[in-house]
């Protein structure tokens, strides 16, 4: 496992997906692209596959996949969908 550098990261995200379902795959790709472009190495992105870990949906109150959660900075934000609207996503990630 690579060393986790949560403390240094200014942006901590968790993305809930359903296996390799098309929107989930798209969401992963989009999230990574946006983060790489705008937050470079200052972010952590955890991807949780609900098909493998269904119980984890309960913790964050997930209703649908794909759902992206911004854990840090607070407040917690949720974005639902395949994250194809880059502008909206960026607003959600950067805004308060």
């Amino acid at each position: 496992m690579p060393p986790i550098a949560i403390k240094k990261a200014s942006l901590v995200l968790r993305l809930y997906v359903a296996g390799s379902a098309p929107n989930s795959v798209r969401a992963i790709r989009n999230a990574q692209a946006i983060c790489d472009a705008h937050f470079a190495s200052r972010y952590e992105l955890e991807i949780v596959d609900l098909l493998e870990h269904p119980q984890r949906a309960f913790i964050d109150g997930i209703i649908v996949t794909p759902t992206l959660i911004r854990l840090l900075p607070l407040p917690v934000q949720k974005v639902v969908g395949s994250l194809s609207d880059a502008e909206q996503l960026l607003l959600a990630l950067a805004g308060s």
Binding site: M1, P2, V17, A18, G19, S20, A21, P22, N23, S24, L50, L51, P54, Q55, A57, F58, I62, I63, V64, T65, P66, K78, V79, V80, G81, S82, S84
Partner: protein
């Protein structure tokens, strides 16, 4: 008025926004699954289901394709975990070793190979991470026999660099090995061909000396008869013939040495005893064989440091050294022997014995030096070399667990280096005790059977002083004597005879006279038919190799009779 809880309003607003976003996402078909709040398990939406099914189908299809490729290939393919336990093996692999498809899964690949191969494989992994260059090893067939395979492997790891195991490609090289061993034999035959002329010459010289000296002695004997003073004449005759007799014996011994060297070529590959042997002895033997080629072209310089024995097959090692010597010699121009030099040296380096054969020839072009060990690569004229010599040398040396390497400098010469593992156990070097016949030994009755009259007469001459000898040219006659009830303490019998062989005599004596059968000792010429070889291996009969020296034969007989007396009576030896 009730107090408005702002935080719950915030939460509510947020939940509404979330619901709104979810509905929008649902409408634009950006959702894959909805989580069932009771079981908290995700329920895939139909579009995601179809997509997943499609991709699974695609995955299965490509898996099927890979599986077909893996099963159709003519090589065995094995996937193992990091501890080399089989995770997957294709059909070709299991067939190769006589197993059912799933019998090998879960067991360690090391269970299928001998200790030596295990060590070689582990060493290669230590050095390179995996067996990257194909390695020849033996795998055990389910039936217990060995299968020769060539193995190469790849290290399997995931993206994080974790070691997942090995992927091995295993090729059955039994057929290839068979062809190679045929090539080895044919190379040996070719060597015999090129050497025959030289050897004939080598034998001819000492033979001429034997004949000339014996002729001279016969001549002197003639004069003795014509002499006037018998006693004086006899004395001078004795002193006259002593030197020529010794010379003749020396020359004859030299012939014996040459013939012994040649015998290594007649051994078949199956009977390849690996013994601790001295490389210096083998080098000298090879030098004798190559001498005829060598002496016209170069001075030979020997630089032997004492070295421990190596555990290899003597005949093969002779073949290697002979090949290297002939190669070195052929690198030199003919006729200026004093200016050119072939050197052979021995020394110890670590746990290896190193033998170097070098010449002062023109050296090897750097552009071709990497190819000189390739089969059929030759710089010699068509018909002169087969291009197999060095390839076979390297193969032989590798089989011995050693290495053959070359170093060459244009205009300076070439050095071939053979490094061989030192034998692990050194046998006792104490020679068997040779007690000579003593006067108080009883006279024994000995039957000698050989179709070669000269040998018969020689044996009779050597033994008749101490024992009573009955000599016969035929095994039938010998059998008849035994059937008549003649009793011999020892029957010295030639193995290969026209008519009835020594083996026939032995087998027929079983019913005619079992006690006489026990008294047979064979005289053998060393080169056997396969039948004779099997016979000697299967029967508990001693044999004496021809040629033998008088003292050795006498000592053997003495030892034999003493052992017999010891086993026949309980009385202790004086």
């Amino acid at each position: 008025m009730s107090k408005v809880d702002l935080s719950s309003i915030d939460q509510l607003t947020q939940r509404l926004a979330e619901a709104d976003a979810t509905i929008q996402a649902l409408l634009s078909k950006e959702i894959d699954a909805v989580v069932d709040p009771r079981t908290s398990s995700p329920l895939l939406l139909s579009n995601a289901q179809t997509a997943l099914r499609e991709s699974e189908k695609g995955l299965r299809k490509s898996e099927e394709q890979y599986r077909q490729i893996v099963e159709a290939t003519s090589d065995g393919i094995v996937k193992t975990d990091p501890t080399t336990h089989v995770v997957f093996a294709n059909r070709r692999f299991t067939e190769m070793l006589g197993y059912e498809a799933n019998e090998v899964v879960g067991s360690s690949l090391f269970n299928l190979m001998g200790e030596h191969d295990q060590r070689a494989l582990l060493q290669s992994r230590r050095e390179l991470g995996a067996v990257k260059d194909a390695m020849d090893i033996e795998l055990r067939h389910k039936s217990g026999s060995d299968v020769s395979v060539s193995v190469a492997e790849t290290l399997l790891s995931n993206e994080a660099g974790e070691h997942l195991g090995y992927l091995l490609v295993v090729r059955d090289v039994t057929e290839q090995k068979k062809l190679q061993s045929q090539l080895l034999v044919s190379d040996r035959m070719a060597s015999v061909g090129t050497l025959a002329a030289g050897v004939a010459h080598e034998i001819n010289n000492p033979l001429a000396a034997v004949i000339a000296n014996l002729d001279y002695i016969a001549e002197q004997r003639g004069r003795l008869a014509a002499g006037v003073h018998p006693i004086q004449a006899y004395d001078s005759f004795l002193s006259e013939i002593l030197a020529p007799l010794e010379d003749a014996a020396d020359a004859a011994r030299r012939v014996r040495l040459i013939v012994r060297d040649l015998k290594v070529f007649s051994r078949s590959p199956e009977e390849e005893p690996r013994g601790p042997i001295s490389v210096i002895k083998v080098l000298d033997s090879a030098v004798r064989m190559a001498w005829n080629e060598l002496r016209h072209r170069a001075r030979l310089v020997k630089d032997y440091e004492p070295v421990p024995a190596v555990e290899v097959n003597e005949a093969r090692l002779v073949q290697v050294f002979l090949n290297l010597l002939v190669n070195s010699t052929q690198a030199l121009p003919e006729g200026s022997a004093e200016r050119n030099q072939v050197s052979i040296s021995t020394r110890v380096s670590g746990d290896r014995v190193v033998v170097e054969v070098s010449d002062t020839g023109g050296g090897i072009e750097p552009s071709i030096i990497s190819r000189i060990f390739d089969p059929f690569f030759t710089t010699k004229a068509v018909g002169v070399g087969t291009g197999l010599g060095l390839a076979i040398c390297r193969r032989l040396v590798t089989d011995m667990g050693g290495e053959l390497s070359v170093r060459s400098e244009l205009g300076e010469g070439t050095i071939f280096r053979v490094a061989l593992p030192i034998a692990s156990h050194i046998p006792s070097l104490i020679p068997p005790s040779r007690r000579e016949a003593t006067a108080n030994n009883r006279r024994a009755k000995i039957l000698v059977v050989d179709d070669e009259e000269l040998i018969l007469r020689a044996v009779e001459r050597i033994l008749s002083k101490d024992h009573d000898i009955v000599a016969t040219l035929s095994a039938s006659d010998a059998l008849a004597r035994c059937a008549r009830g003649d009793n011999f303490d020892l029957i010295l019998c030639d193995l290969m005879m026209p008519d009835k062989t020594g083996m026939d005599l032995y087998l027929e004596l079983e019913s005619v006279s079992p006690t006489q059968q026990e008294h047979i000792v064979f005289l053998t010429g060393g080169a056997f038919t396969p039948k004779a070889r099997d016979f000697l291996a299967a029967t508990p009969v001693e044999h004496i190799e021809k040629p033998f020296e008088a003292s050795n034969l006498r000592a053997f007989v003495q030892r034999y009779l003493r052992a017999q007396a010891g086993s026949n009576s309980a009385s202790p030896e004086p």
